[in-house]
């Protein structure tokens, strides 16, 4: 059997086990250790919903394009990953714009620093691949070189959303004072 299929099954199994472990741990956690307040939890629920809907829409549109045109736009793994990225970015931006991404008493600067670090790491990875002669499009299809670039774009969108929201928060705080 193809190795790719086994790797995908292994990844899915790891994700399921991870989700079970996290849900069991969170279920046993004392309420006073909670990171998000009640409003944030509600908004995060909506965020997950919109992220999931965006992902489903992307996969539906992609499936229609494939069936209509008869050929794929890029490597299958890449296109699946882009779908996941879209879902995550929609969820993150929705939560950021409603002040629900960063928990109570959590550091905004740390989140921005981590985001910027991941953005730079992906950008450097992309530039290195390009310097080594990797192409973005090969035989009319997007290659895996697009992956670090698309991740960098995702982190960039999240970073911009964080900074824009921070700007409005500061104005709100000034008005309150």
């Amino acid at each position: 059997m193809d190795w790719g299929l086994w790797i995908m099954i292994a990844v899915v199994l790891i994700m399921i086990i991870g989700m079970i472990v996290v849900s069991r741990r969170d279920g046993n956690r004392a309420p006073e250790n909670e990171v998000f307040d009640e409003r944030q939890k509600m908004i995060r629920g909506d965020g997950y919903k919109w992220g999931f809907v965006s992902m489903i829409c992307y996969f539906m549109i992609y499936a229609i394009i494939i069936s209509a045109s008869g050929h794929t736009i890029g490597e299958p793994e890449l296109m699946i990953f882009i779908g996941l990225e879209i879902g995550l970015v929609v969820c993150a931006v929705y939560c950021i714009l409603r002040d629900a991404l960063i928990g109570v008493n959590r550091s905004f600067k740390f989140v921005v620093f981590m985001d910027a670090f991941c953005l730079l790491a992906q950008l450097i990875g992309y530039l290195r691949e390009r310097a080594n002669g990797a192409l973005l499009i090969e035989n009319g299809k997007l290659t895996s070189t697009v992956l670090p670039l698309s991740i960098a774009v995702s982190f960039m969108i999240i970073l911009v959303a964080l900074l824009v929201r921070r700007h409005y928060q500061k104005r709100e705080e000034q008005n309150e004072a």
């Binding site: 307040d37 009640e38 409003r39 944030q40 002040d99 928990g103 709100e172 705080e173 309150e176 004072a177």
Partner: protein, 72 residues
């Protein structure tokens, strides 16, 4: 609808949104959303806020509606 009673009670104790949020264990934005009327808190949070501000639930969260004259 804006919760001006909450804002007034908080201001009378010279508490900022940040300080009240810290005392009741929520984010500043949540207190701001309650004051602006953008979020309806759970009864648990309402009680926590009332305790911190030394007010009753009625004083902070009950909205008086115009009473209709039933004699008509």
């Amino acid at each position: 609808m804006k919760n001006l009673k909450l804002k007034a009670a908080r201001a009378s104790l010279d508490l900022s949104q940040e300080e009240l949020a810290g005392k009741v264990g929520v984010s500043r934005q949540t207190i701001s959303a309650i004051e602006k009327g953008d979020y309806n808190p759970t009864i648990k949070l309402c009680i926590a806020i009332c305790r911190e501000l030394g007010k009753t639930l009625d004083e902070l969260f009950w909205e008086e509606t115009e009473k209709k004259d039933l004699s008509d």
